[in-house]
């Protein structure tokens, strides 16, 4: 299945910005089951310099700067992505991994195998997921038990977050600490992903944060509106003997073809779609529009 994704972020500044330096993490990865066919990043006004590199986590990072005075900034990333989740390894095919218990997983994680060593850093505290509270740990331990399969536990954790947390875009923003989200039991996809990651790490397992998109299907008979989609986030659990398995607590599903991966990291801090430092005196207004649709439907 081929999707076209367009992700536009625009800023209106109250007063002139004399210059700015920015970093965008908007270019989808190519990996097993997902191929980036085409990618274009349009920035207006035209940046003075723009460079691309691969970061520590293997994500594409675009760094650009604008050195002329401007009052608006518009960044549009357009990606053509082919998605075929059937090409990905399937946990159902590896019953030993699907059934590995927490106790066994913790033992397996002690190995000095290269993949395990890499995964182990996702057990550690990260910038936004730090000082995990006993409450979060207790919440995790309802699902994660020494003799239970960690896959089943993660599936249940995902379902619990889906049912026990309210989706409320007015409650949180990128700066809301996870412990506040946990207390209020409401937030957005990014919060749910980070809560799940905190839970998994609290029991000693590796979990990472995935930033990407999800295709939303309009109600039957209705035309899909352009720009109503949003950027999305979910989490991934490392299962020894298999590898990373994704879970989407916002939609209570394990991602298939509707999910497009842009980047991953320890938490949102590692992969914000767009960040930057501007030189200006006033405040700014941000607007984001995301549109995902099968490529053949693109007009």
């Amino acid at each position: 299945m081929v999707f076209q994704v367009s992700h536009t972020t625009s800023y209106d500044y109250e007063s002139y910005v004399t210059f700015c330096h920015n970093i965008a993490t908007l270019k989808p990865k190519t990996l097993c089951g997902q191929t980036l066919l085409d990618y274009k990043l349009e920035i207006t006004p035209k940046p003075t310099e723009i460079t691309e590199r691969v970061d520590f986590f293997g994500n594409y990072i675009t760094r650009f700067s604008l050195q002329k005075e401007h009052k608006t900034l518009k960044v549009t990333a357009t990606s053509k992505v082919s998605r075929n989740f059937e090409a990905q390894p399937n946990i159902d095919d590896v019953p030993t991994a699907k059934n590995i218990t927490l106790a066994d997983a913790l033992k397996a994680l002690k190995s000095n195998d290269e993949a395990i060593i890499d995964a182990r850093q996702y057990i550690l505290e990260s910038v936004l997921i730090a000082k995990i509270s006993p409450e979060i740990k207790a919440y995790a331990e309802v699902s994660f038990k020494p003799n239970r399969s960690i896959f089943d536990a993660a599936l249940e954790l995902m379902q619990r977050i889906y049912t026990e947390f309210d989706f409320d875009p007015t409650f949180s923003n990128v700066a809301t600490p996870i412990h506040e989200v946990f207390k209020a039991k409401k937030g957005v996809c990014q919060d749910f992903a980070q809560i799940a990651i905190a839970c998994i790490r609290s029991v000693g397992l590796p979990a990472r944060y995935i930033s990407g998109y999800i295709e939303t299907i309009p109600p039957p008979g209705k035309e899909k509106l352009i720009g109503t989609d949003a950027s999305h986030a979910w989490f991934s659990l490392y299962i020894p003997g298999f590898g990373w398995v994704d879970f989407d607590p916002t939609n209570n599903q394990t991602p298939k073809n509707q999910h497009i991966i842009v980047a991953w990291g320890r938490d949102y801090y590692d992969v914000p779609p767009l960040k930057g430092v501007i030189y200006s005196t006033g405040s700014n207004k941000m607007h984001v529009a995301v549109d995902i649709r099968p490529f053949n439907e693109v007009k």
């Binding site: 760094r63 505290e125 700066a175 430092v277 030189y279 005196t281």
Partner: protein, 852 residues
């Protein structure tokens, strides 16, 4: 006169006797220390005490300070240097040198590996968590390549003598190690005050080390530039070791800059100078890793340069030490250092370390928990006192909490054996005391080797029983003497050899932040002088007249007091509605205008503001200037402590202050070159004086007074800026308003006249550099030209005209107001054109990440 060593060493040890450097357990003198102690005992106790006082005085006079946050003694605490040095003999130093070189190279290879292939982790030599859980491991710096042969260019190590008699490594410092400058100043001061101490002892000199240090900075430049542009980046005057930043800047001759002096454009780093952006090749930084780039690292940092890391990646700038080297300040590495050493060099560590157990390993953690009382527990990535637990002193509750914290994030903790390090003699009051010491040593890259400074900075525990040695908590320092078997040259003067100095030679290259500070220094200094003189004049009048607001003879004083409020813009003050109380007892308000630091417009506030600009510029000031300025501050502190506020005492204080201020201003003119920015200082000084002068004229010359009152006021006006004698010399007549206006406002030759001042500002502004994009005349030039044109057309007859009811001179007031406005606009325009801080750094999205 001599002193018997037995007397000096009386009560040398406290109850707890440790291994001591100078006295053996049988109380005989260690032969290494014999010559030094002989030299000491050749002086009597009185001399020794006097010498210690002299060193204290010298440090104070030279402004050697160390900032201590929340210190009741104030921000700038004087640096303490004890007259008794610390000695290391030649053959021992040889081993230490070898050990430090080995450790520096080892750390260099570790950091290359950590940000490169990570073989040490992959091969299981370092557990991944020791690196990945350390807050100093900056993923943003991964895979960055450097052109210098060493990744780690400066390394500093704290050493202390362990129970086995060898020097042990206690701490590694790799981000922006401090202390080098203090070490040099210590040697310089000790040599100056106590040359006898060095008699017959060959002490190694470190001047060559600083030569190499400078060469290292030059060699680090990308593209092997021959004449690279090098800057020293400081967090600013509030930093603990700001003295040293300024000291190194003057020693090496490089500009001392703040983060906002630098800017990233077109993939390069530039210094904002008065004229243009000037490319920078090397940054010797004293700012910690995470603050270096608010785009990629700590987003709330105002100490770094936005976009810097990308310039580093593209090899267009060298930062010393490279960003990310903080991961080596890692006590989690200690248990693995010997294995790493064997991995790379096939040999053991030369310098011993404190036995340490990393809690990230199960067996080790259990061992630690079992024996916790015997350990000092530390966070692997923090060295502050709050993250340091001396478990023997913790009660059970505290121990349980600590264990819980360790269990939650075991990889974050290390437990270290409790070690008693050696003590060394310290001169305290009139005798010697054994104190714990810690020696900071310095290592720099020299081509493909490492070179060790033959000396260092020794820090002494503040009390006898103290375990914790750190200057951040206050404390004393010592000179570190490395003995040599060979004859050493006499100490070279520490002033820098000019042959390799690339100084700022041109006003065009003046960092705009420095320019701004100079401008404001001038303005604040002008304000302090005008305010002090005016208030002194009022106090003189009050004491002459036995002031009583109810008598008519004091009428002029009421006007003068109103004017004081106007000149200092401290409304309502004497002009307020219910001002009778103030006028009846003006001393209270005057004292507030002098001493209230928090009151805008007060003398104390202006002096304080000057103080801040002054500290930001201290690499420019001479030692004489420092002395004079410091004496003003001391004068005021002493006065406030004495707490006697009467007209005579305050007048005397002002007399002394004014003399010193004038001496200070004279020193500025002879100590700073025009191309170093003296112009900006002059513009600021003249602008402030002109503005206050106009305000004085408007308050005192516009109203029409009767003859006697007029006389009183004019006399006061002239004496308030010491123009009375000039007036008498010029006019030899009775005081008349017409003549006073002619002299103070219109005279073209008299340096204190407004016409003269405006001309001078115009001339100085004309000498400032042009930027291409502002046309052939800058806006501030246009404005000051206008002001000059205006004042040159003034006509005394017109200025004297009274309005219809003969109460005031509207024309005079209007002209003065216009001049004042033009000057204000000139000042604003100058800021906009040359200082340009109109843009403020903000995050596109306020993410508020607690990245530390």
């Amino acid at each position: 006169m001599t002193t018997d060593l037995n007397i000096l060493f009386q009560n040398y040890f406290s109850k707890e006797k440790n291994y001591d450097e100078a006295l053996k357990s049988d109380l005989t003198v260690n032969p290494n220390w014999k010559k030094l102690l002989d030299n000491v005992s050749e002086m009597d106790i009185k001399t020794l005490t006097a010498k210690q006082n002299e060193i204290d005085w010298l440090m104070d006079e030279n402004g050697v300070t160390y900032n201590v946050y929340n210190d009741p003694q104030g921000m700038q605490r004087s640096w303490d240097l004890n007259i008794i040095p610390f000695i290391i003999k030649a053959n021992e130093w040889h081993t230490i040198e070898k050990g430090l070189q080995q450790r520096a190279e080892l750390l260099n290879l570790i950091i290359k590996d950590i940000y490169g292939k990570r073989d040490l982790i992959k091969k299981g030599i370092i557990p991944p968590e020791v690196i990945f859980a350390h807050r100093g491991f900056l993923r943003q710096c991964d895979q960055i390549q450097y052109k210098t042969s060493k990744h780690l260019l400066i390394y500093s190590s704290d050493l202390a003598r362990g129970p086995d008699g060898r020097m042990w490594v206690v701490n590694d410092r790799t981000q922006a190690p401090s202390g080098m400058g203090y070490a040099l100043e210590n040697r310089y001061s000790l040599n100056r005050v106590l040359p006898n101490l060095f008699k017959d002892i060959n002490v190694k000199q470190s001047s060559g080390f600083f030569y190499d240090f400078n060469q290292m900075l030059i060699d680090a430049a990308p593209q092997n530039k021959e004449n690279p542009s090098i800057v020293i980046l400081t967090p600013g005057p509030l930093n603990e070791t700001y003295f040293e930043h300024a000291y190194m800047a003057s020693l090496l001759g490089y500009p001392l800059v703040n983060g906002n002096d630098l800017v990233v454009r077109n993939g390069k780093v530039y210094l904002k100078t008065l004229k243009e952006l000037k490319q920078v090749d090397v940054i010797y930084r004293r700012v910690d890793d995470v603050f270096m780039d608010p785009l990629e690292l700590r987003e709330d940092s105002y100490l770094g340069v936005t976009g810097l890391l990308d310039v580093v990646r593209n090899k267009n700038i060298s930062i010393i030490n490279p960003v990310g080297s903080g991961v080596l300040e890692n006590s989690g590495l200690i248990p693995f250092m010997n294995a790493i050493c064997n991995h790379f060099f096939n040999e053991d560590l030369i310098l011993p370390q404190i036995a340490s157990w990393w809690c990230g390993q199960e067996k080790e953690r259990e061992f630690v928990f079992k024996n916790i009382k015997n350990f000092v527990v530390k966070r692997i990535d923090r060295s502050n006192r709050e993250s340091l637990f001396f478990c023997e002193f913790l009660d059970n509750n505290a121990l349980e909490t600590l264990k819980k914290d360790i269990s939650a994030n075991p990889y974050r903790y290390v437990a270290q054996e409790k070690i008693t390090f050696s003590t060394a003699p310290d001169f305290v009051k009139d005798h010697l005391e054994a104190r714990k010491v810690l020696c900071r040593t310095f290592v720099i890259a020299k081509k493909d080797q490492y070179q060790v400074m033959p000396g260092g900075l020794v820090r002494v525990a503040p009390e006898r029983e103290n375990l914790f040695v750190s200057n951040q908590r206050g404390g004393v320092s010592k000179d570190l003497w490395v003995l040599s078997n060979d004859q050493e040259d006499n100490i070279k003067h520490y002033a820098w050899d000019n042959t390799c100095k690339i100084s700022i030679s041109d006003i065009n290259d003046l960092p705009s932040n420095t320019a701004e500070n100079l401008f404001w220094s001038g303005r604040y200094l002008g304000r302090t002088l005008v305010t002090a003189r005016y208030i002194r004049m009022i106090l003189n009048r009050m004491s002459d007249e036995q002031y009583d607001s109810n008598t008519s003879s004091s009428e002029s004083l009421v006007y003068l007091l109103h004017a004081l409020t106007n000149i200092t813009s401290t409304f309502p003050g004497f002009t307020g509605k219910n001002n009778e109380a103030l006028l009846n007892n003006p001393l209270k308000e005057i004292i507030s205008l002098l001493f209230d630091k928090n009151r805008l417009g007060s003398f104390a506030q202006a002096l304080n503001s000057f103080n801040n600009s002054y500290y930001s510029l201290r690499n420019l000031w001479s030692k004489d200037m420092w002395r004079v300025f410091d004496s003003i501050k001391k004068l005021w502190t002493k006065f406030e402590q004495a707490n006697v506020y009467t007209i005579p005492t305050v007048t005397k204080l002002l007399d002394r202050t004014i003399t010193r201020l004038i001496a200070f201003m004279g020193l500025i003119e002879e100590s700073i070159l025009v191309q170093q920015g003296l112009l900006l200082y002059f513009i600021g000084l003249q602008t402030e004086q002109a503005l206050m002068q106009i305000s004085k004229f408007r308050s005192l010359m516009v109203f029409n007074y009767d003859e006697r009152l007029q006389y009183d006021i004019l006399e006061a006006l002239l004496s308030s800026d010491e123009s009375l004698n000039i007036y008498r010399y010029s006019y030899r007549s009775h005081l008349s308003l017409e003549n006073v206006i002619n002299l103070t406002l219109l005279d073209k030759e008299y340096p204190k006249s407004l016409t003269y001042r405006l001309k001078r500002i115009q001339k100085d502004i004309d000498r400032l550099p042009y930027t291409e994009n502002i046309g052939n005349q800058s806006n501030c030039q246009k404005l000051i030209d206008l002001a000059n044109a205006k004042i040159s057309k003034l006509n005394i007859a017109e200025l004297m005209i009274l309005n219809s009811d003969e109460s005031l001179r509207e024309r005079l007031d209007a002209e003065l107001t216009e001049l004042s406005d033009l000057l204000h606009e000139t000042s604003l325009s100058l800021s906009g054109t040359y200082f340009n801080h109109s843009y403020q750094q903000t995050q596109l999205i306020n993410q508020n990440f607690p990245l530390s």
